[in-house]
């Protein structure tokens, strides 16, 4: 059933593109949205479901992006592009492994700062490497992303991460979030699962990076700084730490707001900032809490109304 729906959404999108209703400008907004969805969902796995506060997600995205660009610029064909995205994601996952192993021992604030530092180091390395052309970045990256690839990668990411979470591995991760010491004491090897979640999250961030590079023509190290990590964090927090559909909904909401506030980027960031603070104080579980959007829930709303509110 789910594949039929995926196909349906894909078909509608394709129709919109072909008739020109969804012009280039709107499509670029859609691409940004889908990339953000992938990033948010993968960060949610690390931070929301496994409870590891990572502020360096943009670093993984940049690895995916650069590796993909370097490959697809040398092999400018569709197989080259696919190879690039996959290799980029694997490279990001690899770095996630190397970085995660020593740092995931840290807790809370310290982990956050360590991941932030790691992302900065990655950015500075890219800023100085000859092969990535330093600050001038890479230009003229061949554009391969169209609605077909975009929807394929976006849906796959959501489905794969969701499957992981509902598996035994995923439940282990959640138990680590709830109480790491208790989890250890019933035999769940905390470090193993933390690193696994981290690596998977990094992998998908790498995919998002590859998609970005293959649509927006160019990469610069400045695209992957702290602000991008924050952008993703806001989506995850707004949607609900621990809710995948929350991340998707939040990504859409914020995409709409960003489009309206395009002329005022500072106001957009101010809005994000206020949103973060208000959510944390008033409703820290975000829009969806740790629930997922489903027909049952929607039906539940109807019933609850009759009973007079939750």
């Amino acid at each position: 059933m789910k594949y039929i729906f995926a196909l349906l959404v894909f078909a509608i999108g394709q129709l919109l593109v072909v008739t020109g209703y969804l012009n280039d400008y709107l499509f670029s907004t859609l691409t940004t949205l889908c990339i953000n969805i992938i990033l948010a969902v993968s960060l949610n796995l690390i931070t929301g479901f496994t409870g590891q506060f990572s502020l360096g997600h943009a670093g993984f995205m940049s690895i995916g992006g650069y590796v993909c660009a370097l490959i697809s610029m040398r092999i400018p064909t569709v197989p080259g592009f696919l190879l690039g995205v996959l290799t980029g994601a694997l490279a990001a996952a690899f770095v996630g492994f190397i970085v995660g192993l020593p740092t995931l021992r840290l807790k809370g604030d310290y982990l956050a700062i360590a991941t932030l530092g790691m992302a900065e180091i990655i950015r500075i390395i890219f800023l100085n490497l000859k092969i990535t052309n330093g600050a001038a970045g890479l230009n003229g990256i061949p554009q391969f992303v169209d609605w077909m690839w975009l929807s394929l990668f976006t849906f796959s990411s959501i489905i794969l991460i969701s499957n992981f979470i509902r598996s035994a591995h995923g439940r282990a991760c959640v138990s680590i979030r709830e109480d790491e010491i208790a989890a250890e004491s019933i035999g769940i090897h905390a470090t193993k699962y933390k690193v696994t979640a981290f690596v998977i999250g990094a992998f998908f961030a790498g995919i998002a990076g590859g998609l970005y590079a293959s649509y927006f023509y160019f990469l610069r190290p400045t695209l992957f700084g702290f602000s991008r990590s924050i952008d993703i964090l806001v989506i995850v927090v707004l949607g609900g730490i621990g809710s995948l559909s929350g991340s998707v909904i939040a990504a859409i909401l914020l995409a709409l707001i960003s489009t309206y506030l395009q002329a005022f980027p500072e106001l957009r960031m101010v809005f994000y900032a206020v949103a973060l603070v208000v959510i944390m104080i008033v409703r820290p579980q975000g829009l969806m809490g740790s629930k997922e959007l489903s027909l049952d829930l929607l039906k539940g709303f109807g019933r609850k109304r009759q009973r007079g509110g939750s």
Binding site: T47, G51, F53, P102, T103, R105, L106, G108, D109, Y110, A112, I113, A114, L116, G117, M118, E120, I121, I124, I125, L127, N128, I181, F226, I230, L233, V237, I241, F264, E266, L267, M269, V270, Y272, A273, V274, A275, L276, V277, M280, I281, P284
Partner: protein, 300 residues
């Protein structure tokens, strides 16, 4: 002759690092005191530093105030802002999950930085040129020392001495130390925890504001996002020296300043920041308590 020359260079670099080190130390003090008392990495601290720089700018440019009144004004306003931030954003979350407070701190810092950017635009502003004593420089052998560098060092030393006096001799200072050690016990002993925390924020923010004005005078160029990188590096300094420990922040500040200058001076200046972050990660992994800190074990 050549040894003299290399020695001269080395000493000059040391002097360069003292200026930047003092700035980091002043900012690091705020981080370490707040962390010590409520275990929070106050991300918003860096934006208070930036606010100080802008207040100094406006004071000097539009109100024609001199250096001393400007820096005092900046310290005063930053003090108030710091206390307000604590009351509005952190106090409601005092018993909440750590991630929540950290996210809030990030939100506050973004609010101030981008709010400022919206108000004054992202272009750099320059401080009005200094006149009189502050414009001089002195040659000592092959080294050149500017009066502004001396000023930064002097102001930093004065502020640190004042801080030491406050912390060691006054009641509030004692209260700060007590709350850092054990909040509940302090409360039971009759200490007003809320005002102690506010006081801590006030001092830390005042120091950050002073640092902002000093940077404005010395480097001449300020912009709304100027706090991000120095803030992070000052935090690394605090962690390196031992988070929560005041002498640790000072030590860390000068150390990180020296690392930066010497990596730039003798290595590749493009990797300056990466080295600082690498130090952070190493410290966190190997000795999270920092140079002067004592390692503790986590109790279940």
């Amino acid at each position: 002759m050549k040894e003299d020359f290399y020695m001269g260079q080395f000493l000059q670099q040391i002097f360069n690092s003292i200026s930047i080190g003092s700035i980091y130390a002043l900012i690091a003090l705020g981080y370490t005191m707040v962390y010590g008392i409520i275990r929070l990495i106050n991300f918003a601290h860096a934006s208070v530093y930036m606010l100080g720089a802008y207040i100094g700018y406006f004071a000097m440019t539009y109100f024609g105030l001199g250096f001393v009144p400007s820096i005092l004004l900046a310290m005063l306003i930053c003090m108030i802002v710091g206390v307000l931030i604590e009351k509005i954003a952190y106090k409601p979350l005092r018993n909440a999950a750590r991630i929540a407070v950290l996210i809030t701190a990030i939100g506050v810092s973004m609010f101030i930085e981008y709010g400022m950017m919206f108000l004054v635009k992202a272009n750099v502003r320059s401080y009005p040129p200094m006149s009189g004593f502050l414009a001089k420089s002195f040659s000592v052998g092959a080294m050149t020392i500017t009066a502004q560098q001396i000023l930064i060092l002097a102001v930093t030393i004065i502020l640190m001495v004042v801080l030491q006096i406050v912390v060691k001799t006054t009641r509030t200072g004692k209260a700060m130390r007590a709350v850092s050690q054990d909040r509940e016990a302090a409360e039971l002993m009759g200490i007003d925890v809320n005002s102690t925390i506010s006081f801590t924020f006030a001092i830390g923010s005042a120091l950050a504001g002073a640092a902002g004005v000093l940077v404005g005078v010395y480097y001449n160029s300020i912009n709304p996002l100027m706090g991000m990188l120095p803030g992070l590096k000052a935090f690394v300094a605090a962690v390196f020296g031992g988070i929560g420990l005041i002498p640790g922040a000072v030590l860390g500040g000068y150390f990180i300043g020296a690392v930066e200058v010497f990596v730039a001076g003798y290595g590749n200046s493009m990797y300056r920041d990466a080295v600082v972050f690498a130090i952070l990660i190493l410290v966190l992994i190997l000795k999270p308590a920092g140079l002067l800190g004592k390692s503790g074990r986590e109790k279940v």
